[in-house]
Symmetry: D3
Subunit: 221 residues, 6 copies
Amino acid sequence: MKLLIINPNSDESMTQAILSSATRFSRNNFDVSCLSTPGAPPFIDTYQDIAAAMPGMAELLHKHEADYDGFIVACHCDPNLDLMKESTDKPMVGIGEASMKIATMLGHRFSVISTDERSVPNKEALIRSYHLQDLAASVRSPAPAWADESEHNQYLLTARAAVDEDMAEVIVLGCAGMTGLDKRLESELGVPVLDGVVCALIIASGLVKYQTSTSKIRRYR
Amino acid sequence: MKLLIINPNSDESMTQAILSSATRFSRNNFDVSCLSTPGAPPFIDTYQDIAAAMPGMAELLHKHEADYDGFIVACHCDPNLDLMKESTDKPMVGIGEASMKIATMLGHRFSVISTDERSVPNKEALIRSYHLQDLAASVRSPAPAWADESEHNQYLLTARAAVDEDMAEVIVLGCAGMTGLDKRLESELGVPVLDGVVCALIIASGLVKYQTSTSKIRRYR
Amino acid sequence: MKLLIINPNSDESMTQAILSSATRFSRNNFDVSCLSTPGAPPFIDTYQDIAAAMPGMAELLHKHEADYDGFIVACHCDPNLDLMKESTDKPMVGIGEASMKIATMLGHRFSVISTDERSVPNKEALIRSYHLQDLAASVRSPAPAWADESEHNQYLLTARAAVDEDMAEVIVLGCAGMTGLDKRLESELGVPVLDGVVCALIIASGLVKYQTSTSKIRRYR
Amino acid sequence: MKLLIINPNSDESMTQAILSSATRFSRNNFDVSCLSTPGAPPFIDTYQDIAAAMPGMAELLHKHEADYDGFIVACHCDPNLDLMKESTDKPMVGIGEASMKIATMLGHRFSVISTDERSVPNKEALIRSYHLQDLAASVRSPAPAWADESEHNQYLLTARAAVDEDMAEVIVLGCAGMTGLDKRLESELGVPVLDGVVCALIIASGLVKYQTSTSKIRRYR
Amino acid sequence: MKLLIINPNSDESMTQAILSSATRFSRNNFDVSCLSTPGAPPFIDTYQDIAAAMPGMAELLHKHEADYDGFIVACHCDPNLDLMKESTDKPMVGIGEASMKIATMLGHRFSVISTDERSVPNKEALIRSYHLQDLAASVRSPAPAWADESEHNQYLLTARAAVDEDMAEVIVLGCAGMTGLDKRLESELGVPVLDGVVCALIIASGLVKYQTSTSKIRRYR
Amino acid sequence: MKLLIINPNSDESMTQAILSSATRFSRNNFDVSCLSTPGAPPFIDTYQDIAAAMPGMAELLHKHEADYDGFIVACHCDPNLDLMKESTDKPMVGIGEASMKIATMLGHRFSVISTDERSVPNKEALIRSYHLQDLAASVRSPAPAWADESEHNQYLLTARAAVDEDMAEVIVLGCAGMTGLDKRLESELGVPVLDGVVCALIIASGLVKYQTSTSKIRRYR
């Protein structure tokens, strides 16, 4: 089995970090590649970023569709995911969708840790589009008061506030760029911390093995 | 990796059918066993059946917890699943929860095919407990008028009505006893048909591999 | 009319307290008894406690069904209530369900006062299972900072925070063990405070008098 | 204990029918009176009818508030109920609210039988205002094709369609004018059939006995 | 085109303020009048105030229906709006409904600024009756601690808290008496601030020009 | 005031039809233009169509932003509307959003008439993204059995089924290509029929006149 992870941005170091997490998880069960999106911005934050990433994502899919058994979109806002699901008969999994839906199986409510306050409403809209709003405790970004802390500490404080104040029982890392932070945060927090890249690999590899995929009868025909 | 599937009823032939589907899916990726529940009724339909299965399910878990890496409850009404999640630190997955949540990743709305009308409200209550009610097109059981058809045809007609009249895009087999019907129905219907046993294996094996499990901070402590 | 209150735990002093509240309310309108559940744990908190109480609750119902006109389950998490409703044709009322639904008739939103933080998500899940989530202001337990206060004061402070900060207009006592605290808290808070035991007696005695009971057509057949 | 039932319309024969049902239920537990509303229209159907009934309802309450312990508004659309709750410190119960909330304790979903199609959306809006929309199977009025049937048969056919096609498990009589039809329909249908007048008496007499009433802290101050 | 704004209270100075805002907006596109409601209380806060305003509102409509092309109810709790929509075939717009629905087109979530805490639950009930509860960040009234601030500052602080703490992106002025505060607050806050009077004029004048109006088939017949 | 309507497809005849409806409505109140989208497909149906229209829509906005006071996206699936709102400080209105939200002010529930069954789930997803799902009676497309009827009759039969069977009280034309059908259908059906182009003009011209626009604080910054 061969899976392709599409990093919707053009940041090669993030692509390498994603690939590193992915290969650590896949071990020798399946092959996995990760590609940056040509022409995409270095970071996906706004609707304009999503639009700018679109042509390159479509191009990557078109070029590599025959060579892989399944695909992953590795940005936690699941940019252009409806389009990508529609554009192939093979399994197409978003790291936002996969991680938040797996989170609902592991505890009462999950919180998403986001990089900045600006993306909070967009993530809330995404959560609602998946009908998960009543299972989400909160979307949280680091407080401005913590600006002097290390990045790790900022996320730790943010996640701890979600667990203590918002009653979250599971933490979802809300950015592909946070890949690899899961296990250290998990041990510090005492609750599951989910890396979207790994969650998407669980679903995508499972669907490939099960030989099933997106329904093509109406919405994604 | 070793997974144990707990069949909450005492029907040994159903246990064998579940095991057969499970081993066909697992291939050589992981080991899987399936055990009938001692003292349980032959079929789980009512709340009394669920209660009657409880002591045996708890006993199976207690006896085998150390020997397996993850567990599956293989009845589509997810009987005693909250109890089972609370009772172990290892991954515990219900076939109802896993199949319906995976279904939401594959199409606009899913329908559950149930064995009989009596269980429809119970399945609706389960769907709601997972917050999936707006993603479910319907829960359907074979119409009395089809009583002379073969069992396969009854389920086919039921699923087709769900696809055509309720606008379902994915079909979920609503009983562990339907295991193995997925691929033939899928080819006849032209939409994904999900076997809960396989879906639960995807999630359970993924969680074991990811070394994460149920949050133990509050609800399932 | 004879009503039996089943205390799902084995704490005889709680049974006496419940009976005392019940007889104070019933006066000479109907007879009421209360029994502890044999084999049950002393307090119902976890899913394991609920499971451990189940055989004794079923036994109590079986043994006394013919002698009473209606039944009450007197633990605010309504343990095994679906099973109990299914197991008799006579009225079966949970103190959680009765008190929260009556609360919705008395004000804009209600809050449930719970004994400890651990049970908050479980109570939220119960509230949701009754479709009451948008009518509930909050589920609150005493803050750790109040540990030196008397038990009464802890509940008073908790309820006041619910009224002032969460905008609750009605308080529901979230544990049968709080029975009898209602009127003093009510006079201190200035809002209705509901004891689930009394609320369940209102509903159960009313159903018996009305000669109606649980529908036996599908879900509770 | 003395309860006053306010019939919001001016139809004296309906007032007598309501009183007859009420006294049959109350037996010797409490006293109950029923008064027609002066100046109100003979039937409450439109928002104009509700407005026209308002001054008379307020007048009845003002005139009789001191003489009774609790009050019931006996029209299934609960006309001016928020106003009436606000206007007295004593228990004020609507037959729509009481019957639909008790219905939710007796089965999976309830249906309301309405006199005519025009009132269906208004009843749906009422159901939603009580947050009961997901617990209601349907609001149904007799089909035009049944116009030649007796009134009883029309309601029977309507209720049967609700049970069979909409999966209702409990039937709520959606008009005070249907009072007294409950037990015959119940025996014909095999599911509970609730008369709002009786349901409101259960709640109102219970609240009076419990010495609690509407919260006066904010919404109904 | 001639529009009549009905101020449901009897405060002539508020009527003048509303008219002033309305004529500033209408410029020479349409004619607009505003009338106080005879017999109404000076301020609409409680359900009794709404009831007291009803006869005068109905009288105003009856008297002036032929002379105007469309009507506006200018109190943010939309008092008697269902009645008013039912009572005329011409467009009838509430400032609460119009402003909150336009707010949803301008940002992720809106907050309503209310004059006092008592009206918060009533406004929440109104928001829910329009199915807007998931689009509303909060309903907020000035904190008691700000009592020494100017009225303008109190609303500014309230709105700022809604933007910063509740993540509101649009502010809705929750009282016709706040008319005219929109543009100064907008420049101070940096987010859209909506005056219900203007929003209702946008909708009402648009409906008149489009020659469409309330559906008269069932609910408002 | 100058408004630009962006027709997201490249069908010049549809552009002319939209412009014709728009100028008929605008009369001499404001200037309105309509442009086809360069490089877009002739009809917007799939997610690929939406993606293919995106660069041309962005280009149109960029090129003409300075020359117009407000903008309308004239395809009923509101393609790329979040992107367009983010990309300008001036009012940006979608015909889907405007028409469905105005519909909710005119009756109990609305139905959307769609061109074909394939687009039904996509429109349902759109309705949900605006939180309108409980206010929508249905999304309906012409039945295959009506294929021999004229296009007008097919839409008439579809709308009538929505009114009679789904209890719709307002009809929304679910495609910009249906522009101009509103008034004839309205007279045949007896309920309001809304043309999205006109509805968007009401909102956009109102916002321009009110000098307010999309909030730029977070989601659309």
